[in-house]
């Protein structure tokens, strides 16, 4: 059963509805054309549109892509196993400093820096998770929160690592000095993370992860090693976060300790939840949105005009805008549409992948316990 599910691809996931309702739906040639046009439009937006933009704009776009990676990193933990990390800024920040330190102080190449950041991210998660993952849920959230504070108050105070108050320089890699080349590099990394994430969830362990989120006790009676798998997810999440940090460092070409505050950790959580847990497309869109919020505010002044109508409110600077808008969206998402953006765009995503357009198809994928039977 398990192997079968894996080999049949996306259609098998929704189970009965697809099999029973419309087993042989094939889009008409016009349908394919329409889908092709939409795909091309998306490709144009992601690949061609940024070409020839100014450097500071490209840096924002790269940041949006990198935030996508960070969002996916949290999605592994929060979406797949249902554990929450409120200290993810520590993983991202330490990844950033690791890569900057290796490139600037050790004179090694960017690729070594990125690899080290990924390794350090995973290792951190392994150690922290190894010690603390016997406790889960609320208490685990506490531990990660406290760890984030330790990173802020202790680790980022180590002068050699962070380069002191001015921060550590992190030059762009050879061959990717220009901002648009670096943007494409970030896209490639995002694609790799998406691919790894997708493959991981296709394995038996991946489905076991989902099962243990649904009900750890039932999952463990089916032979799932709950603690080990949770730790595994945490390590993957930490590695992704380290990668995101390294890319962020070289995008800004300088990392400073003040960036990695508790507020940022909350923004990471918020963008993942608003994006929609367990929906890769949703998470990436949500994360990119939060990275671009300030930029969008500058670009489209309509929101700013609306806010000016509130009496007595000072101007909303882009940095604060993220902090104000984020929680509002989060609370709306949690109380109204728990599936976030991913839930809203699901009909479109289904349609784009060659299924019938069904506006009512908002159902979140639920994994069957029997899918992971050992």
């Amino acid at each position: 059963m398990a192997v079968e599910t894996a080999s049949r691809g996306p259609a098998a996931e929704t189970g009965e509805t697809v099999e029973g309702g419309e087993p042989s739906f094939r889009p008409s040639p016009i349908g394919w054309l329409a889908r092709g046009i939409v795909w091309a439009a998306i490709a144009w937006l992601v690949l061609i549109f940024p070409l020839g933009r100014e450097a500071f704009e490209l840096q924002r776009y790269s940041e949006a892509v990198i935030f996508g990676i960070i969002g996916l990193s949290l999605n592994v933990l929060l979406g797949y196993v249902g554990q929450i990390s409120l200290g993810h800024q520590a993983f991202v920040g330490i990844g950033a400093f690791t890569s900057a330190y290796i490139v600037t102080e050790q004179n090694l190449s960017f690729w070594v820096g990125v690899a080290a950041a990924v390794a350090v991210g995973g290792l951190q998660a392994l150690v922290l998770g190894g010690v603390s993952l016997r406790i889960t849920g609320l208490y685990f959230a506490m531990v990660t929160l406290a760890y984030g504070l330790v990173a802020e108050k202790n680790i980022f105070q180590i002068q050699e690592l962070t380069g002191g108050g001015l921060g550590q320089p992190a030059p762009k890699p050879k061959g990717f000095e220009s901002d648009f080349r670096y943007y494409y590099l970030c896209l490639v990394f995002l694609a790799i993370v998406l691919w790894v994430d997708w493959r991981m969830m296709r394995t038996k362990s991946g489905r076991a992860l989902l099962a243990l989120r649904e009900n750890p006790r039932v999952a463990s009676t089916f032979g799932v090693n709950v603690r080990l798998l949770t730790l595994f997810a945490f390590v993957v999440s930490g590695a992704f976060a380290g990668l995101g940090g390294a890319l962020l460092a070289h995008n800004d070409t300088r990392v400073s300790p003040e960036t990695w505050s508790f507020n940022l950790a909350l923004i990471f959580v918020i963008m993942t939840v608003v994006g929609g847990l367990r929906s890769r497309a949703g998470v990436v869109i949500g994360s990119a949105f939060f990275a671009l919020i300030g930029y969008l505010l500058d670009k489209f002044t309509i929101l700013q005009d609306g806010l000016n109508a509130i009496p007595g409110a000072p101007d909303l600077s882009p940095e604060i805008a993220r902090l104000v808008i984020g929680p509002v969206l989060l609370l709306l998402t949690l109380t109204l549409t728990p599936g976030g953006i991913g839930q809203q765009i699901r009909p479109i995503v289904r349609w784009l992948t060659g299924h019938r357009f069904d506006l009512k198809d908002r159902g979140l994928k639920e994994v069957q316990i029997s899918d992971v039977r050992a």
């Binding site: 508790f262 902090l323 609370l331």
Partner: protein, 318 residues
């Protein structure tokens, strides 16, 4: 069996405290003891509110610190224009109002959601509150008046303590006692406990669980507000989110240390965390730790407690 477990907790608590005091006296860190107890009482104050909400609805309330910050902010805005006493009342009123609003708009719609979802939601409330403070005010520290303008100082074990600190400590001890009485003896307190353990059965007894939830959040917000207006003026000034940034983690550690459901435990935990932090800051052996050693030590304490005795010092297992 239950009694044995309780007694075990008390024995461990007594041992930990004796050990801590002995080490402090032996190493000549008497000052740390006094300073720690005083700072710890502020942590304990915040921890009381955390425990209260956890006891009744099983939520880790990350907005608890913000109840205090909002109260301090209101106090700051009011205390130029109206007598201090009224400003204080206004500040506490705003905190309670915030508690009720949060309960109505955030907690109630998520009544049946997983507890982790609620945790994320309260963290969102905290961030929103901080963001609005930065937006309307500035991200700078500002001074706020004290409840006791007298500035009397007392000397305990060679350390000077202001009268406001003693007021804080006294208020905390009294409140911890009052709350313990409230939960053990009054009908309302017992109803709140019942609603946390058996919501359905409580409903069947003719008690509205939802109304209880509102009362609990208002009460917790009042405690958070009190913690803010009593503790913050002593630190000289406040910036947006001051209680969340500086107090929330130690307060959570205190609550976990005390067992998360025990009110006296929260008080005790706060004091222990305060002492640990004070020692870490002043003792020479921790000098080599970069940044603030207190944060690291509190984290280590939290990890040890969670791994070795997850039910805390005075909490019940299970």
């Amino acid at each position: 069996m239950d009694r044995l477990r309780e007694r075990q907790g008390q024995v461990i608590t007594a041992a930990v405290i004796t050990l801590l005091v002995l080490v402090l006296l032996a190493t000549g860190e008497k000052e740390s003891l006094v300073i720690g107890v005083i700072t710890g009482s502020a942590y304990g104050f915040l921890a009381l509110g955390l425990v209260l909400i956890y006891k009744s609805s099983g939520v880790f309330n990350f907005a608890q610190g913000e109840f205090g910050t909002v109260a301090v902010y209101t106090l700051y805005l009011l205390h130029f224009d109206v007598p201090y006493g009224f400003a204080l009342l206004g500040a506490l009123g705003v905190a309670v109002l915030m508690g009720v609003v949060v309960e109505r708009l955030v907690v109630r719609p998520l009544f049946d959601a997983p507890r982790v979802t609620l945790l994320v939601a309260t963290a969102g409330v905290a961030l929103l509150s901080i963001a609005v403070q930065i937006w309307f005010g500035e991200a700078t520290a500002r001074p706020v008046g004290r409840a006791l303008p007298t500035l009397d100082r007392f000397t305990v074990l060679g350390v000077q303590i202001s009268d406001q600190r003693l007021l804080l400590l006294g208020a905390l001890a009294i409140l911890a006692g009052l709350l313990a009485w409230f939960f053990n003896k009054t009908n309302l307190g017992l109803a709140i406990l019942g609603s946390s353990q058996e919501p359905t059965a409580t409903e069947l007894m003719g008690i509205s669980v939802k109304r209880l939830s509102t009362i609990v959040w208002a009460l917790a917000a009042l405690l958070g507000g009190l913690a803010g207006v009593l503790a913050v003026p002593e630190t000289g000034g406040f910036a947006p989110g001051v209680l969340t940034v500086a107090f929330l983690i130690p307060a959570f550690t205190a609550a976990v240390l005390g067992g998360m459901t025990s009110l006296p435990g929260a008080f005790l935990g706060g004091v222990i965390v305060g002492v640990v932090e004070a020692v870490a800051t002043s003792a020479p052996i921790f000098e080599d730790i970069p940044g603030s050693p207190g944060t690291l030590l509190v984290f280590v304490v939290l990890l040890i407690v969670l791994v070795a005795r997850p039910q805390g010092l005075l909490g019940k297992a299970g």
